[in-house]
């Protein structure tokens, strides 16, 4: 399964250290602008992302269509990276991984299917690539960085405890 990533989800998964596991299960593509946003400072998560790019587990793509990208930015209050990721997901008819509010709203308007960092954590357990105990620890970290509302975290916890 090919999934286009926005900076928000990519960084969240890197922060809780499960991005490598995700890239082993899914084909992860990011636009060049997202790559720039995620790697411009020398931080823990940017090191992980750079390393995965080097290993070919994340693919960075050049996105053209400047006119459409600029229109997306203007019409939906998006930044370049978010607009490029959204455009790429529409163009390649793929899922978009995003944890940004305005981009999710735009996905609803343009009928683009999207998912967030928390879905990847649950999926890894579901396909047997992570044990429940580790997933619980990661969920705790993800709730902090991802700032999901209580209902979402409780539901995720139930899914993990209840065997998904």
């Amino acid at each position: 399964m090919v999934i286009i990533f926005d900076s928000s989800t990519l960084i969240l998964l890197a922060k809780i250290d499960i991005l490598r596991d995700v890239t082993k299960e899914f084909k992860v593509i990011i636009p060049n602008k997202v790559k720039d946003e995620c790697t411009k400072k020398d931080l823990f998560d940017s090191k992980i992302i750079l390393s995965l790019l080097k290993e070919g587990l994340i693919e960075a793509k050049k996105v053209g269509a400047t006119g459409t990208i600029n229109k997306l930015c203007k019409d939906f209050s998006l930044h370049l990276g978010e607009a490029e990721a959204l455009y790429l997901a529409m163009d390649e008819k793929c899922l978009l991984a995003v944890d940004d509010g305005p981009t999710m709203k735009t996905c609803r308007v343009l009928n683009v299917r999207f998912l967030t960092a928390i879905h990847f954590l649950i999926k890894l357990v579901k396909i047997g690539k992570m044990d429940k105990q580790m997933a619980m620890a990661k969920l705790e970290k993800l709730s902090f960085y991802g700032r999901y509302n209580r209902r979402i975290v409780e539901d995720a916890l139930n899914r993990l405890e209840g065997g998904i």
Partner: protein, 95 residues
Amino acid sequence: MSVISLRLKDRELKKIEELSKREHKDKSTVARELLEYGWDYIMLRSYKGGKLSLSGLAEKLGMSVSETIDLLSDFGTEAPIGYDDYLKGFKAFEK
């Protein structure tokens, strides 16, 4: 640095003087800091209200997206993801 003149209300000047004394800084430094904090606050509010995206907020704050996520986590700013969107995410994964 540029110099501008502006009119302040008495209570605004009082706040600058109070902070200047409390933090042992000159009034110009305190005024500049307040301006920065005010800017950050307005940008955070715009993000919370959905008027700014995460990357947009990062740019306005002069931070990377990663640092901005850390800041939002420290402030406990809830992510703008509804429970319905969360549920839809599972369906999107299955298709």
